[in-house]
């Protein structure tokens, strides 16, 4: 399934009637996102965020007429590979923006880099490409995966949490989450429990948590798993008894289902819809006006990715064939991020602040994450030192 968002007729007309800027060329951006299945809600956020930015900039990023081609990786590595190849060979895109999930990034990384195109990840930030294997063509506008978990571990350590029960799905990201948390947390660990991916009934795990004498639970349960776990956790009456520290478990993609059950729980991230910055508030209100739901970090990171491209393309006067100049300008990251200041580390992953997020019910009855307190300031990831770039 592919959708084309072509420039508006007005923009095209404008291109023909005015004197073209020197070397101005068209820009083609390919988006590789997960749009099908239950995790499709995440990809939808990123797609809408990116398109909103292109629309706000009048259909042109950095003065180049912009065409956005969206493909769905279906959360299958082979599909991602086929789709990205067609983006590179048939659509001849200049920049690939993707993906949501780290295992999809692993699938498209090589073909994009081999074709010497620019790859910008709006969400996935695996350790794999942050260290030794970093590459000048690869940029990340989100975070390095471990950082959210490290921030939670630091919060637990600094706030007198003594004993933590840890719960995550049994796959690589779940194990990374636990290791990330343990980087700063040095207290007691009651138990580390791994559940199958897509787990339905957490009653057995919740009984273990209730009898573990922990004062906090740390978890990473993305998507539907998070919806079920949070609901059952709340039903068991544990929300009032222990601190709930999580990442990717209570966010704008799961809150519409979790509702009140999530209020009082904590998440971690680099941004929330109530972020105290005028342009960020503008972004949230125009996003909600257009799409009718609250943007989460997935939408914001894709929006930032579009702004980043805009800044770099305008630095080379719209000449996207000047690849060296374009990459240098991307690395500069001279754009107005929704997170305030934005700088790239030497491995081209961001250096940024991490916050504890709480869940709030807004006056209009919708739910959103809100900034509670800053945990880490100007934090780079733990792998950048291994990157020789």
């Amino acid at each position: 399934m592919r959708k084309f968002l072509s420039t508006t007729a007005a923009a095209i007309a404008l291109a023909f009637t005015t004197v073209p800027v020197a070397n101005a060329a068209d820009l083609k951006v390919g988006l590789v996102l997960t749009l099908s299945g239950p995790p499709g809600a995440l990809g939808k956020q990123a797609e809408d965020g990116f398109n909103l930015a292109v629309e706000k900039l009048g259909g042109s990023l950095g003065g180049a007429n912009t065409t956005v081609v969206v493909v769905d990786d279906e959360l299958k590595p082979d599909v991602a590979l086929t789709r990205v190849k067609s983006l590179l060979e048939r659509d001849d895109v200049d920049i690939v923006v993707g993906t949501i999930f780290s295992n999809m990034l692993a699938a498209i990384y090589k073909p994009v880099i081999k074709a010497d195109k620019i790859l910008i990840s709006p969400n996935a930030g695996p350790s794999t490409f942050a260290g030794e294997k970093c590459h000048p063509n690869f940029f990340v506008t989100s975070y390095q995966n471990n950082q959210n978990f490290e921030a939670l571990g630091k919060y637990a350590q600094d706030n007198g949490v003594k004993r933590v029960f840890m719960l995550a799905p049994n796959y690589q990201a779940g194990r990374d989450a636990m290791n990330g948390f343990k980087k700063y947390f040095k207290g007691d660990i009651a138990d580390e429990v791994f559940t199958p991916l897509g787990h339905k009934d957490f009653s057995a795990e919740i009984a273990q948590i209730a009898t573990s004498k922990s004062d906090a639970v740390f978890t990473f349960m993305p998507g539907g798993m998070g919806v079920r776990f949070v609901k059952q956790f709340d039903e068991a009456g544990l929300s009032d008894k222990m601190t709930f520290l999580s990442a990717f478990t209570v966010d704008e993609t799961t809150l519409p289902a979790q509702k009140d059950a999530a209020v009082g729980l904590f998440g971690a991230g680099t941004w929330a819809p109530d972020f105290d910055l005028d342009r960020s508030k503008d972004f949230v209100s125009s996003f909600e006006a257009k799409y009718g739901y609250v943007p989460g970090s997935y939408a914001m990171q894709a929006y930032d990715a579009a702004l980043l491209i805009d800044s770099a393309v305008s630095a080379v006067d719209g000449d996207v064939s000047n690849k060296e100049g374009l990459m240098a300008a991307l690395k500069e990251a001279k754009f107005d991020s929704m997170r305030g200041t934005f700088t790239f580390n030497n491995n081209q992953y961001p250096i940024q602040d991490f916050y504890l997020l709480n869940i709030a019910k807004r006056a209009d009855g919708k739910y959103q994450t809100e900034i509670a307190e800053k945990i880490l300031e100007n934090s780079g990831d733990s792998f950048a030192a291994e990157c020789k770039m």
Partner: protein, 306 residues
């Protein structure tokens, strides 16, 4: 000890749910020799229909009733228009066709209700909880599900063993040609069995929805476990399905709770953490292998003629 009791309760409740889905599947498989992979889809349909009617009526019980009626109609329509034409085909054709239905219906559900997880609240009168052990509240709704499941199991037992239709169903499972030769409309019998089976799966989905969440593909993971249940129980046997379902429910739940702890006695913690979760997911398949080794027809084999 009390924790063990709570975990057993959780296991029992999972087993009951498995039984409700397995009952229909084992009859369809046993009586008609028809492999219906789309049985899990009926579980999902039951849940989503009840959710939809709940939004319209805001009464759980009316929504459940309407949901079951529509689920039955959908089941019968599928039987008449699709499955009926597959009974004479080989198992591979049946698997392919019903797999196609899974893909189609999952996509349809996504188009209508969206890909995100949805929540169906339990009925008002069962939405409280009590402190089962210190520090842990147990939703009363889960106990209601166990009670309802056992009631359905007893009802099914009477229907299959004490009524005339039940007798024909059992006879059909043993020797369909002979039943047909004796003047019984076997086609109609199949249709009743099929419609009833899909409705039970839909019922399971609807009563499970307030405990878990609704999402496309929600029946597919369960279906594999349900196949394990009917194979262990003996294909076509209601009694076998019940015992196997409870066995699997307990083994899976208790297994997940204790496997890693037991392994920690023998290995260092990080190794135990690596092996434990994998091993506990395998337990039910290990049980199936063991049962099949000693009793290749399952625990309660249905005696077939010829």
């Amino acid at each position: 000890m009390s924790l063990f009791l709570v975990q057993s309760l959780n296991g029992l409740q999972f087993g009951i749910l498995l039984f409700l889905i397995a009952a229909g599947l084992t009859l369809v498989f046993g009586v008609m020799g028809f492999i219906n992979l789309a049985h899990g889809v009926q579980y999902m349909i039951g849940a989503y229909l009840t959710f939809m009617f709940f939004q319209w009526t805001t009464n759980f019980f009316i929504a459940l009733l309407l949901g079951m009626i529509v689920a039955l109609i959908i089941g019968l329509a599928c039987e008449m228009f699709i499955f009926r034409h597959l009974y004479q085909r080989n198992h591979l054709d049946q698997v392919l066709a019903t797999f196609g239905i899974i893909l189609f219906v999952n996509e349809l559900v996504k188009v209508i209700w969206g890909p995100s997880s949805l929540i169906l609240p339990p009925p008002e009168i069962f939405s409280w909880s009590f402190e089962i052990i210190e520090g842990l509240r147990y939703p009363i709704y889960r106990l209601v599900v166990i009670a309802v499941g056992i009631t359905v199991a007893v009802g099914l037992y009477f229907a299959v063993f004490k009524t005339r239709v039940g007798m024909l169903v059992r006879a059909g499972a043993t020797n369909p040609e002979m039943v047909s030769a004796l003047g019984v409309d076997i086609k109609r019998l199949f249709m009743i069995v099929f419609g009833f089976g899909t409705m039970l799966a839909g019922f399971a989905g609807a009563i499970a929805a307030p405990m878990f969440s609704l999402e496309p593909n929600m029946g597919d993971d369960l279906l594999i476990t349900v196949f394990v249940v009917i194979i262990i129980g003996g294909i076509g046997s209601i009694r076998g399905a019940f015992i196997a379902a409870v066995l699997i429910g307990l083994l899976d739940t208790l297994g997940r709770a204790v496997t890693t702890d037991i392994l920690r006695l023998f290995f260092d913690p990080s190794t135990a953490n690596q092996i434990g979760p994998a091993l506990s997911s395998m337990l039910i398949y290990i049980l199936m292998a063991v049962v099949l080794f000693f009793k290749p027809e399952g625990l309660f084999p249905v005696h077939r003629a010829g």
